[in-house]
């Protein structure tokens, strides 16, 4: 049980980063389907940076920066040019994915064994305490993910900047009339979002795996998009959504080990099926940001 909780937190970490990022962008009125690709590019850039510098934190930083740049690209497309958000988001995903694969081949060639780095160690925190010790034995980025949840809530609901974000996502015309620079707020939101997504991807290479594979994200970005709806665009509820997905994922690992005679692929697919079901249930009361998907053009 304790191991299960610890594993849930671990699996939930990249989802929390990704979902909080997506939430920022959607709260500002932009659906960012670039998330899957940005997470992959973050995973790769984080890995490659750590591989060549030996510093894990530089890897995290680089993943964050490349995510911010991808967010800026998304902003140029959707905020300034007003291009269809679905298609430009997928375009960003395809671009980032292609770029990560291309760069991997350029830098590492086609190695027989994937190149490795020494990933983050799990921190021992209150290690002597019975139950808490094993649960709190986590990677540093997991702690940051948990801290980020109240921070994002505070930014969105208790700062002027957060008010502006919500305003441009709900009613950009009124926000503009009130003197808010809609383009700038949306752009900054997308850049923050990209940074989170990049770090979420890098968690996988720099913490859990220590190497990069082409299918490393495996639809986690799409899960994040579902979790935003499930959380009804509320940062605190993101945590519950990520725990459900993480919990089901951690549980399926356990169930596989108990030797229940069911194909393990069924367990692997389970979290995605649960996500669709959870999404369907949550969708009845979902309050989409009113200006989501609508490009804003100043007349």
């Amino acid at each position: 049980m304790i191991g299960l909780i610890a594993a849930t937190l671990r699996v939930a970490t990249p989802l929390i980063f990704g979902t909080l990022g997506e939430l920022f962008s959607e709260r500002a009125g932009i659906l960012n389907l670039g998330i899957e690709g940005i997470m992959l590019l973050g995973a790769f850039v984080g890995f490659a940076t750590t591989y060549s510098t030996g510093s894990l934190w530089l890897g995290v930083l680089a993943a964050c920066i490349v995510g911010i740049m991808a967010g800026l690209l998304m902003a140029i497309m959707t905020v300034y040019f007003g291009v269809n958000q679905h298609v430009s988001g997928l375009g960003i995903t395809l671009f980032c994915t292609g770029l990560a694969y291309y760069a991997f081949r350029v830098i590492f060639g086609t190695p027989a064994n994937p190149p490795q780095i020494q990933p983050f160690m799990q921190t021992e925190f209150l290690a002597d305490v019975n139950i808490l010790g094993p649960i709190l034995r986590q990677y540093p980025l997991t702690y940051y993910a948990m801290l980020l949840v109240p921070v994002v809530w505070w930014v969105l609901y208790r700062t002027n900047f957060g008010l502006n974000i919500r305003a441009v996502g709900e009613n950009p015309e009124a926000a503009d009339a009130a003197g808010i620079n809609v383009y700038r707020v949306r752009t900054i939101s997308l850049m923050i979002a990209g940074g989170f997504m990049g770090v979420g991807g890098a968690f996988l290479t720099l913490s859990t795996l220590g190497f990069f594979t082409f299918d490393i994200i495996a639809g986690r970005g799409w899960v994040c998009i579902a979790l935003v709806i499930f959380a009804n665009w509320n940062p605190i509820r993101v945590l519950w959504g990520a725990f459900i997905f993480g919990g089901v994922s951690a549980l399926q690992l356990r169930l596989q080990l108990t030797g229940i005679n069911l194909p393990y692929e069924l367990f692997l697919a389970l979290p995605y099926v649960v996500t669709i079901i959870a999404l369907t249930i949550a969708n009845r009361n979902a309050a989409y940001p009113a200006a989501l998907l609508k490009p804003y053009k100043r007349e």
């Binding site: 007003g82 291009v83 298609v87 395809l94 291309y102 350029v106």
Partner: protein, 351 residues
Amino acid sequence: MSKLRLEKAPAPAWVRPVIPLLAILVTFLITLIFIAWVQANPLHTYYYFLVAPFTSTVTMIELLVKATPLFLTGAAVAFAFRAGYYNIGAEGQLMAGAIIGSWVGVMLEGFSSWIALPIMIVGGFLGGVAWALIPALLRVRLKVDEVVTTLLMNSIIVFLVSYLLNGPWRDPVSMWPQSPDIAKSAMFFTLIPQSRLHFGFIIGIVVILTIWFVISRTAFGLKMRAAGSSAEGARFAGVNVERTILVTALVSGGIAGLAGVGEVAGIHFHLIQGLSSNLGYTGIIVATLGALNPFGVGIAALFIGLIDTGSLTVSRAMGVPVYLGQVVQATLLLVTLSMFVLTNYRLKREG
């Protein structure tokens, strides 16, 4: 102080056909960065990319082979998008068609091609329909966003294929996880002897002509386009929007399923995990470059087929990683999207 600002002004008529060409030019200027990174000669690279495929019959045929599934996934995406249904699930629906195709194909041992081929085609279509069904029903009945659900369905089918290939369908003879080969009579015949160009190419052309006819010449097409441009307006005009979208979504899934059958019956002859290699997502590029117009889709599929072929030529001749092709295609998508919008604006000096 004078300020530059964008002002809306429709593009002159001569500009529109030029946009794709201009987009291609800009794309190749941008991708120079990635070519410079590997210190390859850009002129040589682009020569192998765009010209070399036309210098031999083998690569020209290969271009058509690559374009074949893209006709279908591009058509599937364009068809759904025209009705305002964002089917991002062509990737999964293609695999569903491939699953049914490789299953039916094995069962058809002993039947003649006259019986086997129609069953393969119908089966693959229905496979795609089945995989499109859940997101489509959730959308029309419970208003669940189809973008998210079709994407998640793409992830789920990866596990289904992996289960089949490592479990019940695993070919005991092969070293790799793959299903047994389909019956000879269920294989698509080749259009040119000694090549990989198969019957699926004709299916692609027929489907493109069919969706052109449906979209622009039938009452259903009118309803589709009405639902796509404004659901409210369509409803007001008496169109059953939910039903229209449901049918469109399922047909779109079916078309994507046909692409999967083609890859099984014409190229691989069995099911493998990497069968699709992004064909469904590339269909979105194709549909967008083709401006959601069926004939545009055809031309775009051929062009993307050229880039696919070209990236292999570049890789073989110059050692530039083949993924350059994917980077070029994605860049082209983003540039074309921007150009379609930007040509509707002029820079104006104000103040």
